[in-house]
């Protein structure tokens, strides 16, 4: 492979897969808001990351 193609392939992988990993980690660390708005209806129980 030529150097330019390798560079752009790696950059694409780091950016896109990195964004996926970062968002997944963010979700795992903060699965839900600290305080829900008041008065949720009957089916409003929390659904934490399972």
């Amino acid at each position: 492979m030529n150097g330019e193609a390798i560079f752009y392939m790696l950059v694409s992988m780091v950016v896109i897969w990195g964004a996926l990993i970062a968002s997944a980690v963010f979700l795992a660390v903060k699965p839900e808001v600290a305080k829900w708005p008041a008065g949720a209806p009957a089916d409003g129980e929390s659904q934490p990351l399972d």
Binding site: Y8, I16, P31, S46
Partner: protein, 527 residues
Amino acid sequence: MSASSGPAATTQPAERQQWSGQIGFIISAIGSAVGLGNIWRFPGVAYENGGGAFMIPYLIALLTAGIPILLLDYAIGHRFRGSAPLAFRRLKKWLESLGWFQVMICVFIAIYYAVILAWAASFFVFSFGQKWGDDPSSFFYGDYLHLADTAGFSSDYISGIVIPLAAIWVLTIAVLALGVAKGLEKANIIFIPLLVVAFGALVVRAVTLEGAADGLNALFTPDWSKITDASVWIAAYSQIFFSLSIAFGIMVTYSSYRRRRSNQTTPGLVVGFANSSFELLAGIGVFSILGFMAHEQGIAVSELSGLKGTSLAFITFPKAISQMPSAAWLFGALFFASLFLAGFTSLISIVEVVSAGFQDKFGWSYRKAAVSIGVVLGIISVALFSSATGLYTLDVMDNWANNFCVVLSAIVMSIAVVWVLRRGRELAFHLSSLSTFKVKTTWLALIGVVAPVMLLYMFVQTVYSLVTEGYDPAYDAWFEGLFGWGTVVACVVGAAVMTALRWKHDPDRFEPWPPYAAPPARLTAGK
């Protein structure tokens, strides 16, 4: 008095189905987004539009239109807790017709999408003996499809397509009849990891093939001259838009099955980036194989043909599989299994949009909706697409359903929500109140300005081209009229008819949560 505004029933609807948890929803949404287009469309589009340089408009399109509209779908479905027709009606009564328009789009997409899965299932079996022989093109069009010389109607039904197609509809009905948590979610939880393993194994093998580097050079070497070409940007927005399953009811329906207290935006980011991650993986796999194929033939990758769509999957790939130095059957089986799994998890999401619409409107149980709708769509699908002219019908219907109807639906949705009804701030409030990643004015600008402008440009360009030049000179005008423009007319008429019918349960007895207090200046806007 219209039937839809007639006396409301007093009985309460059954409790809304729910995903078992956040991961079930995320995997199902990824299953819907990752489909055939990720494998057979993205690599070719990226290659034709600047290679490595294409990734810049692609990423910008993802961040400025793809993810913002995905979140708009989530916000509408989750806040108004219904299938597309119900959620849009609760947003504004007259918008119910947009919901049914999206349901009708899903009807048309489902009936032709299923037949591609039938082909993939057949080719999975054919892989074990490379039944396509030395000439995959003749095999696909002749021996397998029995393709007629001209487009039209044919009573020459192909048992090799009818049987797998019927089986796919039976499987679809079975999954949907089990409900959201036990059917849709379980199917995705089984199939998506299988897809990742199968396709991952295929990519690992592909990159170690002789000549793979030539393919990756062709895909990733940037052509910076393309970056100033408007058509490249349109291609990037189109790819993102069609790939993410947005604006035709799927994500509205899926998010309506989430509990009230559930994080909205971060799962949206995960789904959006997971879809693009799979596309990138597909690009690496597909172009490694194309590089190998070019190497075997002693030509450059640029001299290869059939780099997208059905010809890539059912002609170019079988050709490459036959040239594999070892375990060609395994390679073929992995590829067609991946194609099937990616497509099936999308198909069930498309049919669920139709099923959910009927459940909400007529109070049907999910079993009744799955069986009734699945049987009707299955019969139409077999009747139209398993004959000797099925490929032509599929080609024309796909072009109008996707490039015309879905784009139109997205434009109407964003303009209606942001500009006509001025409910964008309410939806931003909804997302931010429940989510760890907040959306603000930038999101409103993206869904209200950037996305509609790009979509409008795409739409005008498509319509102008269809009106002035037609779609494909190989088709007669009556054929394009019937299956192309006819699809649009059927979506509009179907939406109008369904909107006019009476709801089983009063759809308007509903209070969105969390309650939103509009700023004083906007209290009357759009009401």
